[in-house]
């Protein structure tokens, strides 16, 4: 049934977020640390385990796949409720503080991506 997939997804999400809150409290930080990440690992492991035993049928999977397909529209709805006005009102200081960091972060990505990537023969 479709609800099995939705329920499994909701269960993984909840448990992961709780773990993230705990980890945050544990290291004394007022934020969720890794919650969505834990939820994802839970979902991947649970569905793999259940599928191997034949307990996770395609119809159940469609309950997960639907929500994964809703992701982009949900992100668009999220964009539509950002405080764009405050970002613009922050003036040049806020703009530069945000923008310069983004540019440098983007520039770092290809550099850090070299670590741990399987080396090609032409690289030493």
């Amino acid at each position: 049934m479709v609800i099995y997939g939705v329920a499994l997804l909701a269960f993984s999400s909840l448990l992961g977020l709780v773990l993230g809150d705990w980890l945050g409290a544990l290291i004394g930080v007022k934020a969720n640390v890794g919650g969505v990440g834990f939820s994802m690992i839970l979902l991947i492991s649970l569905t793999a385990w259940l599928t191997k035993r034949g307990w996770f049928q395609p119809l159940s999977a469609s309950g997960v796949v639907f929500w994964s397909g809703m992701y982009i529209p949900i992100v668009v709805a999220m964009a539509a409720q950002q405080n764009v006005l405050a970002a613009i009102k922050g003036g040049p200081l806020a703009f530069l503080a945000g923008a310069i960091g983004v540019v440098l972060s983007f520039a770092l990505v290809p550099l850090i991506a070299r670590i741990g990537r399987p080396k090609r023969p032409e690289e030493k």
Binding site: M40, V84, L85, L93, G101, I112
Partner: protein, 255 residues
């Protein structure tokens, strides 16, 4: 008649949200197809359209939730709120490869630390350039350049003024919005076309909503990898900014 219609839209807010976002998506994909011949991804235009609507909403109501502050569009707030956002992001992990995730472990840790520290330094440097000389304000604005959550958390912990906290939130918002818009444009240049780089990107850039929307507009298949790494970014920022990074700032500006 108009009243009745209006009432129905408000009462069934989530359904109104589906219709509005569905219409926006259709229009964005139509524009992407006709105007840019698919060179700019439809979802990138849709996200940008969402931001424009958020600005319009903010101008009309003066509130801070963009379009969702208009009662008719309150359902957008539920649809794009944290609960459904996290729920659908987790769903994208279905079918992601565990091995790809594990392989990138160490470089992601490097990316997280490098991303938080570099963003903090940029924000702090800009604060100094604009005349701030006290460590609390400099660190709070630096923290805002990490994410718009790290900024106020740090500001509250250090006792920054509300003006500085507002600036730090604005810096974080600017970052998230630029990431949303710029990611699909620079994706090719930074090699963002595989799970490994997506995780590094998520760890370095970090701001949750920016990464989520930026990757969606680049390649939805990469979303779970980037988000998986980014999910630790704000937490790490909240850990480092009010402690180590603030203390380092105070060494240079001892007030």
């Amino acid at each position: 008649m108009i009243d009745l219609l209006n009432q129905a839209f408000v009462k069934n807010g989530l359904l109104t949200g589906f219709v509005v976002v569905g219409g926006l998506m259709w229009f964005a994909y139509f524009l992407a197809d006709r105007l840019t011949r698919g060179r700019i991804h439809g979802s990138a235009i849709a996200v940008f359209g969402g931001l424009v609507l958020a600005y319009v909403g903010g101008r009309l109501t003066g509130g801070k939730n963009g379009l969702a502050d208009l009662p008719v569009f309150a359902g957008i707030g539920l649809l794009g709120g944290n609960m459904l956002r996290d729920f659908s992001i987790v769903a994208t992990a279905y079918g992601a490869s565990f091995d790809d995730l594990k392989k990138s472990g160490l470089p992601v840790v490097v990316a997280l630390f490098a991303g938080v520290i570099v963003s903090f330094l940029c924000g702090a440097a800009v604060a100094v350039a604009f005349g701030y000389r006290d460590a609390v304000s400099i660190a709070t604005i630096g923290a805002g350049a990490v994410t718009y959550i790290v900024g106020p958390v740090t500001g509250a912990a250090l006792g920054a003024t509300s003006e500085v906290i507002a600036l730090s939130i604005a810096a974080g918002l600017v970052k998230a919005i630029i990431v949303m818009i710029a990611t699909p444009l620079v994706a090719k240049v930074i090699g963002l076309d595989n799970p490994h780089t997506a995780m590094i990107y998520g760890g370095t850039v970090g701001t949750n909503s920016g990464v989520a929307a930026g990757l969606a507009a680049t390649d939805p298949k990469l979303v779970p990898y980037g988000v998986m790494a980014a999910t630790f970014y704000t937490g790490l920022g909240c850990l480092l900014a009010p402690s180590v990074l603030y203390l380092a700032t105070r060494l240079i500006f001892p007030h």
